[in-house]
Chain length 359, copies 4
Amino acid sequence: MHMSSTKPFRVAVAGASGYAGGELLRLAARHPRLEVGTLTAHSNAGATLGSVHPHLRSLAHRLLEPTTPEALAGHDVVVLALPHGASAEIAAQLPDDVLVLDLGADHRLVSPDAWERFYGSAHAGTWPYGLPELLHGDGAGSVTGRQRDLLAGASRIAVPGCNVTAVTLGLQPGVAAGVVEPTDVVAVLANGYSGAGRALKPHLLASEGLGAAAPYAVGGTHRHVPEIQQNLGVAGGGDATISFTPTLVPMSRGILATVTARLAPGVAPDEVRPAWETAYADEPFVHLLPEGQWPSTAMTLGANAALVQVVVDAAAGRVVTVTAIDNLVKGTAGGAIQSMNLALGLDETTGLPTEGVAP
Amino acid sequence: MHMSSTKPFRVAVAGASGYAGGELLRLAARHPRLEVGTLTAHSNAGATLGSVHPHLRSLAHRLLEPTTPEALAGHDVVVLALPHGASAEIAAQLPDDVLVLDLGADHRLVSPDAWERFYGSAHAGTWPYGLPELLHGDGAGSVTGRQRDLLAGASRIAVPGCNVTAVTLGLQPGVAAGVVEPTDVVAVLANGYSGAGRALKPHLLASEGLGAAAPYAVGGTHRHVPEIQQNLGVAGGGDATISFTPTLVPMSRGILATVTARLAPGVAPDEVRPAWETAYADEPFVHLLPEGQWPSTAMTLGANAALVQVVVDAAAGRVVTVTAIDNLVKGTAGGAIQSMNLALGLDETTGLPTEGVAP
Amino acid sequence: MHMSSTKPFRVAVAGASGYAGGELLRLAARHPRLEVGTLTAHSNAGATLGSVHPHLRSLAHRLLEPTTPEALAGHDVVVLALPHGASAEIAAQLPDDVLVLDLGADHRLVSPDAWERFYGSAHAGTWPYGLPELLHGDGAGSVTGRQRDLLAGASRIAVPGCNVTAVTLGLQPGVAAGVVEPTDVVAVLANGYSGAGRALKPHLLASEGLGAAAPYAVGGTHRHVPEIQQNLGVAGGGDATISFTPTLVPMSRGILATVTARLAPGVAPDEVRPAWETAYADEPFVHLLPEGQWPSTAMTLGANAALVQVVVDAAAGRVVTVTAIDNLVKGTAGGAIQSMNLALGLDETTGLPTEGVAP
Amino acid sequence: MHMSSTKPFRVAVAGASGYAGGELLRLAARHPRLEVGTLTAHSNAGATLGSVHPHLRSLAHRLLEPTTPEALAGHDVVVLALPHGASAEIAAQLPDDVLVLDLGADHRLVSPDAWERFYGSAHAGTWPYGLPELLHGDGAGSVTGRQRDLLAGASRIAVPGCNVTAVTLGLQPGVAAGVVEPTDVVAVLANGYSGAGRALKPHLLASEGLGAAAPYAVGGTHRHVPEIQQNLGVAGGGDATISFTPTLVPMSRGILATVTARLAPGVAPDEVRPAWETAYADEPFVHLLPEGQWPSTAMTLGANAALVQVVVDAAAGRVVTVTAIDNLVKGTAGGAIQSMNLALGLDETTGLPTEGVAP
C-alpha cells in the first residue's frame, strides 16, 4: 500500500490524552518514518498536549481537537486509543485505504458470543490480530505459522490487550509444542497502575496504592480471559481454559505474568525449554533469558520487549513461566507500532527501542 | 506453668537487631503482660537498640548483648529470631521450663527427609507448630480440631513461615471440607521486601526494587513448599502438591497470596463459601471479607490480621482465594505472640492489634 | 470536667469516612478510656465502616450516619474531621460542655485577616490551639510556658495542620532561644499522599505519583503558611516569615520537613543544639535524635512521635533541622488525642503508641 | 578532530557495570553516530553485560573486561564511569587525542583547596566542565557566554554531578541576571535511589527505603556543595553560598530540586521570570514550563531534559525555583553525550531523547 515511499507516513491519534495515546506519541515522535498529524481528545479537546502529557516536550504545543471523522481524515495511519465501544463507531467512518489500529478491545475477539458475554454489547466484527509473534499450531506439536504473516498489508489491526500479550507470550511455546496442557492454565499477574488508565476511582489513588498489593476482577470475570483463550487456542489448535487473576502492585508500569500449566503426559522435563528456545530464537522483541535469570518488569520499562523464563516443577507436575513487559509499550503502543510497521511494509523493528530504562 | 501470676512475664529476644526481632519488640513493648528483658545480637552486639531500630522509642537506650545461653537465662520466655540453623543450637542449651519460640525454620517440619532436601542439614527435631488456626481434618470433610489446642502449656513452639501462614489460611478451609482438591494447588504471592530480611544483596536494593516486580525461588525450590504441604496435609488428611511462586513487589511489608485449587468433583459452587465461613466464624484474627470485597495488604499493615476472600471460577474449574497479611505481624512476630499467649495461659488476643495502619 | 470518672468517655466522629477520621478511630479503638460512639459521613452515610475502612476490623460493622447535631448528641467528646468551613457550622450547634476537637482549619488562626486572605471566607473565631509542645517565648531567649498548660479542661480545641506541626516542632526551640532568626525561614517538605485526603484528582492517582516527586502550592500560597508564622511568633515573641514548599513523594504517609533558618548574629555554633535538648528533654512524643542520626518518616509510621535532628552549617550561616512525623498521627489524629487527654484530665500519653511500624 | 567522518565513533566505557555506565550504554546503543566498543568493569570483569544490565538487550552478549589502558586503547571516545579517584589515574594513561569524559568528580573543581577539603585527596587538575547550558555572567546582570562554547573540540570533559546540574539549571538565570542574591541560597532535593549507585549499604535497601523519606549529608558536608558554588560563581561573577540538603525518597530515578534565593534589593517581582525566559528560550534540553505548571520528576524519566519553574514569594522575599531531571540522563549520561556531541562536532542533540517515559 504505502510501501515504497520515502516521505513520512502521517499518523493521527484519536484519544491522545490518555496513557495509551501518550505512549503511542512518545514512540511516534522518535520513529524515523512517522510524522505526527492530528491529535484528538474528548474532555481535553482544546487543550495543548503539553498540559496533559508534559513529558512529551517536542509535541507540547500541539492542540487537541475533538474526535471526529473529519479531524482524522487525510492521514496514512489512524490510531484509536478510545474506550471500548467508541472505537468501533469511529472506525466505521474511516476510509478503507487508511491503516487503522484499534488499541481498544472492539475488534479483538472472533467469537461474538464471547464478546457479548464479557463486554455486554453487540459485536463489532473481528480485525486481524496485532500480535506478530502469535504462534499458529496444528494441535499436534508443530507450528504452522506466525501471526505476522497475516499483518503485511493489512488496513485494520486489533491491538491485543496488555495482559493478554504477557500471558500469551509466556505460555504459547509450550502449548504449540504440546509439552503443556492448555486446559487448567493458571495465571496470576502483578500489574502497574497505568494499566488502569486515567480514570478517577478511589482504589486508584496513590494514597491507597502505595504500600499495597490487591487483586481485581477475580474469578474469571476479567475481559482479557476470552482473548487469552482465543490465543492459546490458535497456538494449540484446541480449547484452553485459564484461571486468571490480576493484582495491582505499587508501580506505575509493567506486567509480571506468572503462568503455569500442567506438564503434558509423557513429556520429559528436558523437552520443555527447547520449545521456548525454538519459538523465540529469531524474535526481535521476545527474549528467553538464560537459564537461572528471571525477568523483572524494571528490565522492560519503556522498551518494546518481552522477557520470558520457563522452568519445570516436576514435583508439582507443572511448567512455570514468568514474563515481564511494559504494559504501555509491548503491551499496547509499542506492539501497535510493531504491527503498523508490518502493515506499512517497513522493517518490523523500525523506531522501537529494545533497551529498557533501568534501574 | 506461668499461668496464674500477675507479675509480668520477662521475655528475651535473641536476634533483636533483625526485622523479625524488631517487630516482636514493637508488639512486646505494648503487651500488657510482658516485660522486655535481655536483647541480643550478633554483629550489632554492643550497640543500642535505638541505633538499629530507631522507631522503637521506648527501648532506644537498651543495649544489645552477644547471643549466649547465659545472656538468655532468667527469663520466662525466649524468642529466637536467628538464622536457620542457629536457633536449634542455642535452643538446645535453654532450660526445659522456659517457653522458647523459634521464629526460624529449624523445628517446623515433621519430615526429616523434607528438612534435609530443602535445608541441606541435619534435622533438629519438631516442635509444636505455632499456627493456632490450623485445621485438623479427618480427610472426609470434617474438622476434628485446631492447632491451638496443642499449644496450651507448650514450652517449645515453632513459629510458621510467613508465606506458609498466608497460603495455609487462604486455602485450608476448602481442603478440610473436601470442596477443593489438595493436589495441583497453585499459589503466586506478592511479597514485600522486609520478608527478605536485612541481608545486603544487590537485588534487594531500593534502586532495583522500586518500579519492579520480579519472582524468586521459582519452580518448587522455595523452602516454604514442604511446610505448606505439611499444613495442607494436616487440614486435609492426605497428600498435597503445590506450585509456589513468590514475587517481590515494591512495598516494604505485606503478603498477598493468590491461591487456587481445583473444585473437587461433584461439589456445587455454592458449597464452597460456607466452608470458609464455618472455619473462620470464631477466629479473632482471620477474617473472611464480605462477598465482593477483596483483601489488600494495606488493610493489614501492623495488624495481627489475615483477610481472606474466596470465589469459584466455574469456567476454569477452580476455587480462587486471596489472603493478605503483614508478613512481620501475623506472618511472624504477631503470630508468635498469639501462640505465646496460648502457651502462657493468657487470652489469645492479649496485646495484639487487629487494626491496620492505613492508608 | 470529666476528670475523675472511670467509665469510658464516649467519642463521636463526624467525617469518619476520611483518612483523618479513620486514623482517629484506629487510635480510639485501642485507647483504654474511650468508647467509640456515633460515626457520621456525608456521601458514605448508610454504609458500614468496614466498606470504607476495611483495616478497622473491630469497627467494621458500624454504620455511618448523616452528619447532624442530633446524631452527635450525647457524647463526651466530638471530633470533627470535616472539610474546612463545614466544621465551624456544625460546631456552632454543639453544647458548650462537650469537648469538641476540630481537625480542620476553621478555628486555628488568631488573625481574621490571615484567615480571610488564605481561606477566602469569614473567620469563625479562634479555639485553644492543640499543639501541647508549642513553646511560648518572651522574645528574649526564654521559654515562659508551653501550650499544654492552656489545654487542661478546654472544651474546644483546634488541632494543628500536619505540615505546621512538623515545621513548628523542628524549628521552635531555636526561635524561642533566640539562636536563629525567625525571619527568612525556608522549609521544604516531602509529603505522603494521604495528606491530600481522599479527593479524586488526577495528580493524586497512583499512576501519576509512583516514581514521581512534584511540588504543589509553591510560592507562599499554601494555607499552612500563616499558621506556621503564628506558631513561630508565639515561640519567638515576634514576627516570622517563611518560604514554604511542600512536595509530594511516593509514600502514603509521612512528612519530612527540612527547615533552615539563619544563625542569629553573635551565636556560636555550639550554642545551638542545647536549645533543642532543653526544649524536648521531657517531651514524651518529640525526640531529638542522638547526634549524627537523622530522622526518616519510616521511623514514625503509625506512631505519635516527632523525630528531630539539628545541625549548624557554619559556611552557609544557617541552622538546618529535619523533622519526621506521621501526618495522620502526630500530624492529625494522634495529636488530637494527645490534646484530648489533656482536656479530659487523663495522662497525656494515654492510648498513644510511640513505636513506629518499621521497616 | 573527528569532525567530518561519517563512520561511527567508537566509544569505550570504563565502569560499564554501574548505573552511570549502563545508562551511557542505553543511550549509546541508539545514538546514530556511535559504535559501542570495549566495556570494562572491576568485580564484574569476565561477566556478560546481560548479567549485570539485563535491560540492555542489544548488548547482552558483550563481555566485560578488566579496566586497563590497553583495553581502552583504539577508541575515539572513552567514558570513565569510575569511583572518585580511580578516573584520574586511568585518564592520565590515555592518549591526548582521544576524547575522554569523566563521569566522576576528579576533574570538576577549579579550586584545589575546595577539592582537598571535600574529597580529602590531592587535586588531579581541572578539565573543561561539561554543562553546555552553564551561563557565564559578568556580575552586572549580563550573560557573556555559555559553557558550550568551551566544549567544541575539547578532548577532556568533566561531566557535572547530578545534583549540581539540577540546582545550577534551576537558579543560574536569576543569578546571572542579578535578580536574586547568590548568597544565602537554600536548596532541598528529593532524590531517587539510583543516585547512590549500586553500593550495598543498609539504608539503601528497598525494605528501608519504601515508604520513607530521609535526608543525608546534611549541614554543608555533601561533595556537590563546592561544585554548585563554583557554577553559581561563574553565572554571577561573584561568590555564592548555599545550604544544601538532599533527601532520599522512594523512587529509583529523578531529582526534584527546590531552590530558593533572596530577591535582590530593588528588583520588582515581574522582573524575575523574564530572566529565566531569556536564559532558556533557545536551549534544546532545558524547558521553562508555562506559568502555573510545576515540574515532576516523572516528566523527565529517561529523557535528556530539565524542566524548570520559577515564582516569586513576595511575602517571604524569596524567589522559588523547582527543577526536575533524571539524575542518570540529564544528570549524568545524557549530559555526557550532549557534551560529547559538542566536542565531536556533531549536532548537540544527536541521539538524545527529550520525551520522558510517563506515567
